[in-house]
Structures are given as structure tokens and as C-alpha cells.
């Protein structure tokens, strides 16, 4: 590992808080209708998605902390906390005493969870704006994921909750766009390191 100078980067300004609780009344106010087995399966999957996203952001925060990029580390930590709250809320709403083991060990067969940033996207000189850009792409993938289910042949109760979740993810997309407006956009050449790791004499 090479020694690297702490990069100069834009200071993140106060940002709008991403809403962490859904407008619960919509769902809570409805009389408890019998739910299909597919509904529980879907919620396990939704939990796994939030959980995976939290874990990935946590890993990223750890990576950036190790490399002393504290601004981005803090931002990833905040995003992890938000995804964790979403996961916890699903547990609460489903009345699970603890997260289902199947969700904890969920393996997405074809690809990764839609709301997780793909691995390998980080750069040690990245700035908060880049982190938000990655988060934005995740939220957009989540919108597509839930929209796809809401338009599928899934049972009605699954389609309904998928529609609600798609709407929430759309809100998150908007919130992150607002957040990005308040963060300094990096200049071209942001990844130029005055003390590069490559031997260059």
C-alpha cells in the first residue's frame, strides 16, 4: 500500500435528510387482509435487498476510513444507516421477532441486490458527490426492480406493496438528486494524485 497524501476535496454541506419512514398510515390504516405466501416471500426479498445495501455501504465506509477519506466514509456510513432503518422497518411491519434467517443468507442468483452499489466502483480520491452518484444509481435500480414486480403476474397483495415501494424509491431518487445539488461537484482531474502510487522516476 502506498503512502498517499490526504486529498483536498469539497466539503459536504448540510444535506436534506433522506426520509427513513414511509407514510405508514397508508398501509397501517387498511384492514388486515389475508396475505398470500408470496407476500411473505417478497418481504423476505425486500429485507434482503435493504440488508445487502446496508452491508455494502458499511464495507465502503470501512474502506474509505482505512484510506483516510473521512468525508466519503461518513457519507457511506449515513447511507448504511438509512438502509438499515429500512430493513428494520420491514422486520417490524412483518411482525418478525428477528430477521428471517433465509433473508440474512439470501443469494441473488443472477446478479446482486438491486439497491447495492456494485463492487469495485470506489476510488481512494473519490468525493461525496461520487458517492451520491453511486447511491442514485442504486435507487434508480430499485425503482425499476419494484416497478417490474408491480407490473408482473404476482399476486395482488405483492403487486400492491411493490407499487408502494417503487413510489418510495422514486422519492429517494428525488432526495438524492436534491442532496447532490448541495454537494460540490468535483472538478475534472479529481483523481489526479500529486503523489501517485506508481513508480515514475
Amino acid at each position: 500500500m502506498s503512502s498517499r497524501k490526504k486529498p483536498a476535496r469539497g466539503t459536504a454541506k448540510p444535506v436534506p435528510k433522506k426520509r427513513t419512514s414511509r407514510p405508514a398510515p397508508k398501509r397501517a390504516a387498511k384492514p388486515a387482509a389475508p396475505r398470500s405466501g408470496a407476500y411473505a416471500d417478497f418481504m423476505v426479498q425486500a429485507y434482503a435487498m435493504e440488508n445487502d445495501a446496508r452491508d455494502r455501504y458499511t464495507e465502503f465506509a470501512d474502506q474509505m476510513e482505512v484510506h483516510n477519506n473521512t468525508a466519503v466514509a461518513q457519507l457511506f456510513r449515513k447511507l448504511a444507516r438509512i438502509e438499515g432503518l429500512h430493513a428494520t422497518r420491514i422486520v417490524r411491519e412483518m411482525g418478525w421477532r428477528k430477521p428471517p434467517a433465509a433473508a440474512e443468507a439470501w443469494m441473488w442468483r443472477q446478479s446482486e441486490a438491486p439497491e447495492s452499489v456494485p463492487p469495485g466502483e470506489l476510488h481512494y480520491l473519490m468525493q461525496p458527490w461520487h458517492a451520491l452518484e453511486l447511491a442514485l444509481a442504486c435507487e434508480q435500480r430499485a425503482v425499476r426492480f419494484f416497478t417490474g414486480i408491480s407490473g408482473s403476474t404476482a399476486p395482488a397483495d405483492v403487486k400492491r406493496i411493490a407499487r408502494e415501494m417503487a413510489a418510495e424509491e422514486r422519492e429517494h431518487v428525488q432526495l438524492i438528486r436534491e442532496w447532490m445539488k448541495k454537494v460540490e461537484k468535483p472538478d475534472p482531474g479529481w483523481d489526479r494524485d500529486p503523489d501517485p502510487s506508481l513508480y515514475s522516476e
Binding site: 502506498s2 474502506q63 443468507a105 443469494m107 441473488w108 443472477q110 446478479s111 446482486e112 463492487p119 476510488h123
Partner: protein, 278 residues
């Protein structure tokens, strides 16, 4: 689309230690670590029944990042230590891990003979075609024309072809994985551990610091277009002609794994000590 992993009680998190990896952000080795922990959870083996053995290099730090038993050994000697361990304790799941320099250069001879001996263990090589820890020297798998300050105009040396060499040396399971697909890599590790004999997985794991161009690997990899074969001749033809980005199991043979006659487990420390008296 997806399915719950088999081991519901053991989560990947249980296989991660509190030690934070110090790899560069974006390094493929993070994904391989994640894939190993997912695979072990899916295999439903307990951390205390798994040993992760490594040599020296960036990727060889991996044992410390798991809660399994670990052995961070001498440069190039991961397979020697892993082989000894598995022969002595066949009840353990033994995973050897490391990089292309450690495995194919310093440990090249051990690699050949580990394939030949066919002891039931899994070898995961995180190949980034460079010595990252020592700041970017060409490794055995580096392309001959990779131009860098440390190898002006490239080495001009033909690169090592680990999968072909593994096949020729007798490896019983050969797969290629990519760090851009953590779950796919986890599934391959599960298959490799379950397959009897010496299983070898080469993971394309970019070094974003010294080989930043490898970030594009994720766009070049593709699933192997054919099913795995158990015919070494056919596998050899495929491996010799593939583009280096085929992902999946490429060979799964039926050679009987090496086994030793099991002596009775010593019942006391004194009995164990007696075995070492010359």
C-alpha cells in the same frame, strides 16, 4: 431469480472478523472475501472447522479477515501448508488463497504438485496480473507487452496459463470467476469445496492501483458458453482457445482424491509429543 442460501443459521457475517481489510478501495479482493464468507455460510460449515491458508501478498492477507482458523504462511508456500494440514486433519475444510505472484511464481512448483497430488482442498487465486504489494512489478500472468516504468515496453515474456497448467498437472476441478460477480463467485466456491480432490478457482480480481485498466474487466467477462466437461482432452482444447474471460466451471474430473491411512488421534498431549521425538 434468486433463492435462499441453504445455510439459514450461519450467515456470511459470522465468517467475517473484526479486522478491517487494508486493500485499496475498488480492489477485487474485497469481493473475493465476501464470496468466501457467503460460500462458507451456504456450505453450512462452522468457522472452527475451516482453515484458510495463504502465502504473501495483498490477497494473502485474507485469512485475518475471516473468523476461520488461518495460517498466513511463507511466500509461495500456501499450498504446502494447506496440503499438510488437510492430510493431517481431513475433517477440516481447507481453503488456500493468494495471488498470481505468490501462487504461480514463488509458489509455482507447489502449484504443479498440489494439482498432481489431488488432495481434497480448494485453491483460490486472485489474479490481477501484477505484484501489487511491492508496487507494480510484472507477475507470471502479466501480458508480455504491458508497458510500465518497471518493465519498459513490457517483459516480452509469454504469460503463464494457470488453468491449462492446472489441467495438465492433474487438478480435479478448474473454474474461472470474476470479482465483479460476488454471488457467482460464491457459488463457484461452493461447488469447488464440494468437489472431491484439488479444486482450483482463478478469480479475475482487478488491481485498481497498478492496473487501473483492469476496471474494464467487468465488461469483458461472460459466462462460459458450454457446460463443464469431465474430458481432459476437450477441456484442454477449450482452455487453450478461450479468451481468458470465460466464467464458470471449465473442468470437473473424477480423479480419486489423495488420502492417507488415518492413524488414531493421540489421546493425550504426551502421546502427541511422542510422535515428534527423534
Amino acid at each position: 431469480m434468486n433463492a435462499p442460501a441453504q445455510a439459514a443459521q450461519l450467515t456470511p457475517q459470522k465468517f467475517k472478523s473484526d479486522v478491517k481489510p487494508v486493500w485499496c478501495p475498488g480492489c477485487g479482493d474485497y469481493t473475493v472475501l465476501s464470496s468466501i464468507t457467503k460460500a462458507l455460510a451456504a456450505l453450512a460449515v462452522r468457522p472452527e472447522n475451516v482453515a484458510v491458508v495463504s502465502g504473501i501478498g495483498c490477497s494473502s492477507r485474507i485469512p485475518a479477515y475471516t473468523t476461520c482458523y488461518g495460517f498466513h504462511g511463507v511466500h509461495g508456500r500456501a499450498l504446502a501448508a494447506a496440503t499438510g494440514l488437510k492430510v493431517a486433519r481431513p475433517d477440516l475444510t481447507v481453503i488456500a488463497a493468494g495471488g498470481d505472484g505468490d501462487g504461480y511464481s514463488i509458489g509455482g512448483n507447489h502449484f504443479l504438485h498440489a494439482c498432481r497430488r489431488n488432495v481434497d482442498l480448494t485453491y483460490i487465486v486472485m489474479d490481477n496480473r501484477v505484484y501489487g504489494m511491492t508496487k507494480g512489478q510484472p507477475s507470471p500472468t502479466t501480458e508480455p507487452d504491458w508497458d510500465s516504468k518497471l518493465s519498459p515496453q513490457g517483459t516480452g515474456l509469454r504469460e503463464f496459463h494457470p488453468l491449462v497448467i492446472a489441467l495438465a498437472s492433474g487438478a480435479n476441478f478448474i473454474a474461472r470467476a470474476t470479482s465483479s460477480d460476488p454471488n457467482g463467485t460464491a457459488e463457484l466456491i461452493v461447488q469447488a469445496v464440494r468437489h472431491p480432490g484439488f479444486s482450483f478457482i482463478e478469480v479475475l480480481s482487478p488491481c485498481v492501483t497498478f492496473r487501473p485498466e483492469q476496471r474494464t474487466w467487468k465488461d469483458r467477462v461472460h459466462p462460459a458458453p458450454v457446460a463443464p466437461t469431465d474430458d481432459p482432452g476437450r477441456a484442454a482444447r477449450r482452455l487453450m482457445t478461450d479468451d481468458g474471460f470465460n466464467i464458470g466451471v471449465l473442468y470437473a474430473g473424477h480423479r480419486k482424491p489423495y488420502r492417507t491411512e488415518q492413524s488414531a488421534t493421540p489421546s493425550s498431549v504426551a502421546e502427541l509429543e511422542a510422535e515428534f521425538i527423534l
